[in-house]
């Protein structure tokens, strides 16, 4: 464990009760490898460690009788803070209808999360409307209609292109008294300028109160690149971290929060509409540290 590796580092070099900065650097090197193994992006690791280093070189740590534990605590605290600090419950703005737009790269779990979010809000007394605005991927519309049918939430996909679908959906929501509109969109890469342009157009016509990006928890170094690009192109409000029921360490979570400063609202914990949980920064910190 990181704890025992630190203890070994500090024991070896320690002399006469006073910690040497060299020991701190060696401990940081251990953390660096650990975080990279956990898939935290390289630039994020370097940034993160420089903050940890500044705190670790403080008097209280250098003079402490248990420096290893102190450094671990600093790492864990910094990690938890960056991941969002205290767990914050997901609250919708007090408007009607609330519009939520789902975005992200291919296969990240957007369509499934739309259904999960719709079920979650329905159970909280809302009237959601699911909008199938991915007209590109084979059977994406059918997928959302099937999921909507399973959870008893209406689905709409009226129009020949995603922008028309979104516009018509908003009209339908006001006609039918739906107070939450959840828009599923096609997976896309930020290096595809046409698809990023479409995403911006979708946002312009639907005026979402929340733009959520789905991030697959097994994503590696590319997570920071994706988050940075989506943030720049369509300005995100937050994230959903999907497939955490796997055994990926989930360093992508630190990459995306560190890069954008936006919170992770939910964690996807399975394939069924009920497999949705709030995101807990402290639990994620432990998972990343292994």
């Amino acid at each position: 464990t990181l704890n025992s590796r630190f203890n070994a580092v500090f024991r070896k070099l320690r002399s006469r009760g006073k910690l040497h900065p060299k020991q701190v650097d060696m401990a940081l090197a251990e953390i660096r490898t650990g975080l990279l193994d956990a898939d935290v992006a390289l630039d994020v690791v370097e940034d993160f460690l420089s903050r940890v280093r500044a705190r670790a070189l403080s008097d209280e740590v250098m003079r402490s009788l248990t420096p290893a534990q102190q450094v671990i605590k600093i790492v864990r605290d910094e990690l938890t803070t960056t991941l969002g600090g205290e767990h914050r419950p997901f609250k919708l703005p007090g408007v009607n209808p609330v519009v939520i737009m789902m975005a992200g790269v291919q296969g990240s779990g957007k369509t499934t999360h739309c259904a999960k979010l719709a079920l979650h809000l329905k159970e909280k007394g809302r009237q959601p409307l699911l909008v199938a605005a991915d007209l590109q991927r084979p059977a994406a519309v059918e997928q959302l209609f099937t999921l909507g049918g399973e959870i008893g939430v209406p689905v709409t996909s009226d129009g020949g292109d995603p922008v028309k679908v979104a516009k018509n959906a908003l009209k339908q929501a006001s006609r039918d008294g739906c107070n939450v509109v959840i828009i599923d969109t096609a997976g896309r890469f930020h290096v595809d300028p046409d698809m990023m342009k479409e995403a911006r157009r979708l946002k312009d016509v639907s005026h979402p109160h929340l733009v959520l990006m789905a991030c697959d928890s097994m994503t590696g170094q590319d997570a920071v690149v994706q988050a940075r690009a989506f943030m720049r192109e369509i300005d995100l409000d937050g994230f959903v971290l999907t497939k955490i029921d796997g055994d990926a360490r989930g360093g992508a979570a630190l990459s995306i929060t560190h890069e954008t400063g936006r919170p992770i609202f939910f964690a996807g914990t399975g394939e069924k509409p009920g497999d949705l949980e709030p995101f807990y920064p402290d639990r994620m910190a432990s998972r990343i540290l292994g």
Partner: protein, 272 residues
């Protein structure tokens, strides 16, 4: 990074960072650079030498060959959302272009609209689809598909399976069962078990490859979504630690966006 010139400590550091950013992993990145530094000649381009070292990982790599059974059977497996169904559509198209007849088995009976998704790809490629509807037993579809392919004299049968996390043992057991059914129905081993890995996946990709290889003996990797910014560096460890070759590369969402794996161009792009 391919600009020739001096090999300073900074150069080696940049190359190691590039490998890390490519998802090669910190230990492997450092090991590759250390190996290269030892054999490096001052007249060489450091980046080119690293690329050569990376490409060498795939020496002796089995290349993609269409299976030659009657039918040849390809089973496609992997975790959720990596691109299995889409890759099958592309592979069907590729085989059709080579004049082979293709059948597709819709053994993903779990996911919403999986059958419709595969049906679209079958139509696009001119392949025959065997499906039984959502909730059917995946093994039953597989059995049906082998029988139908034999009856029609189809050249290649490609079997789509549901995405599953390797941490779910009952789902891995189900996959083993599907493979057994295929082999029993065909009277011989499956020709290819293709593991579909998403190029954006981090170190967990190695755990995935290990688990799927242990369960159903993966014979090759299809590395998808290489048209994004991810480099797919995890396949180095998959090759080195498990001996599994990369055979195919997905480069987009269209049916022609499939390439046979080339180690040299993969290696150059890895650190570009």
């Amino acid at each position: 990074l391919f600009r020739g010139g001096q090999a300073t400590e900074e150069t080696w550091r940049e190359l190691e960072d590039a490998l890390i950013r490519a998802d090669v992993g910190p230990a492997a990145a450092s090991a590759i650079v250390e190996r290269v530094k030892e054999s490096f000649q001052p007249t060489e381009d450091p980046a080119a030498v690293v690329a050569r070292e990376v490409a060498a990982t795939f020496d002796g790599n089995d290349r993609w060959e269409p299976p030659l059974g009657s039918p040849g059977i390809v089973m496609v497996v992997g975790v959720n959302g990596t691109g299995k169904t889409t890759t099958i559509g592309k592979l069907a198209h590729l085989l059709r272009q080579e004049g082979r007849s293709v059948s597709l088995a819709a053994s993903d009976t779990f996911r919403a609209a999986a059958g419709e998704q595969l049906d679209t790809w079958a139509t696009r490629a001119g392949a025959h689809l065997v499906a039984q509807g959502r909730g059917a037993d995946p093994g039953a579809v597989a059995f049906d598909a082998v029988r139908a392919a034999r009856a029609r004299g189809t050249d290649v049968l490609i079997v789509d399976t549901a995405g599953r996390l390797h941490t779910r043992q009952p789902l891995m057991d189900e996959l083993k069962k599907v493979k057994r059914v295929l082999e029993k129905a065909a009277g011989r081993p499956v020709d290819e078990v293709l593991l579909v890995l998403d190029a954006t996946t981090g170190q967990n990709g190695i755990a995935q490859a290990r688990a799927f290889t242990e369960a159903v003996e993966v014979t090759g990797v299809a590395l998808t979504k290489m048209d994004g910014t991810a480099r797919g560096g995890i396949v180095l460890a998959v090759r080195e630690e498990l001996g599994v070759p990369v055979k195919l590369v997905g480069t987009g969402e269209g049916q022609a966006d499939l390439a046979v794996f080339d180690a040299e161009s993969f290696a150059r792009r890895l650190i570009a």
